[in-house]
Amino acid sequence: AQSVTQPDIHITVSEGASLELRCNYSYGATPYLFWYVQSPGQGLQLLLKYFSGDTLVQGIKGFEAEFKRSQSSFNLRKPSVHWSDAAEYFCAVESGGYNKLIFGAGTRLAVHP
């Protein structure tokens, strides 16, 4: 069965530092992969997605992610974190059609001033 693993439950970085959030997936075919962000008390918002083609995808708010098939990974990166990036980040894989998304358990990002 398809699954998504986010190994880091909680990450703290200083404002201005670089960020990498890890995501590993289990999927038989070429996956459709996504990163969503959830700010406190809010719903989820799509940051970026990978379907095919260029393995480095750009998203909103200065985020990017790289698909590595050999490592079954889709890690999210940002070169310089802002305090407003503090939120919960979810990696997801589409499973079985109809936009059915399987989410990872999430990584909570805290940003120190």
């Binding site: 459709y32 809010q42 997605k49 997801a92 059609g97 358990a105 999430g106």
Partner: protein, 114 residues
């Protein structure tokens, strides 16, 4: 204007009661979803409707019954509430049911069952 709106935002009720959560989207989308987020933030899909037709029905107790009166609304009715039903329920919509993965989420409805 809120794109995907859910009511109520908070709901506290006793075990055994029946409750409903309403969802409306003004994006003109064809597809709507219900997701459940448990206390550990784990998100799991429950149902999806495309143009009022049920297209995803995960392994959910039949105490949960979705209803879509039109494609802009997807309500969730829960009978005989149990402690384990306590969670945040998110409604979402997408333009259609083709695999674009871009879902627009509401702010969630926090259900607490005592």
């Amino acid at each position: 204007d809120t794109a995907v709106s859910q009511t109520p935002k908070y709901l506290v009720t006793q075990m055994g009661n029946d409750k409903s959560i309403k969802c409306e989207q003004n994006l003109g989308h064809d597809t709507m979803y219900w997701y459940k987020q448990d206390s550990k933030k784990f998100l799991k899909i429950m149902f999806s409707y495309n143009n009022k037709e049920l297209i995803i029905n995960e392994t959910v107790p039949n105490r949960f019954s979705p209803k879509s009166p039109d494609k802009a609304h997807l309500n969730l009715h829960i009978n005989s509430l149990e402690l384990g039903d306590s969670a945040v329920y998110f409604c979402a919509s997408s333009q259609d049911s083709i695999n674009t993965g871009e879902l627009f989420f509401g702010e969630g409805s926090r259900l607490t069952v005592l």
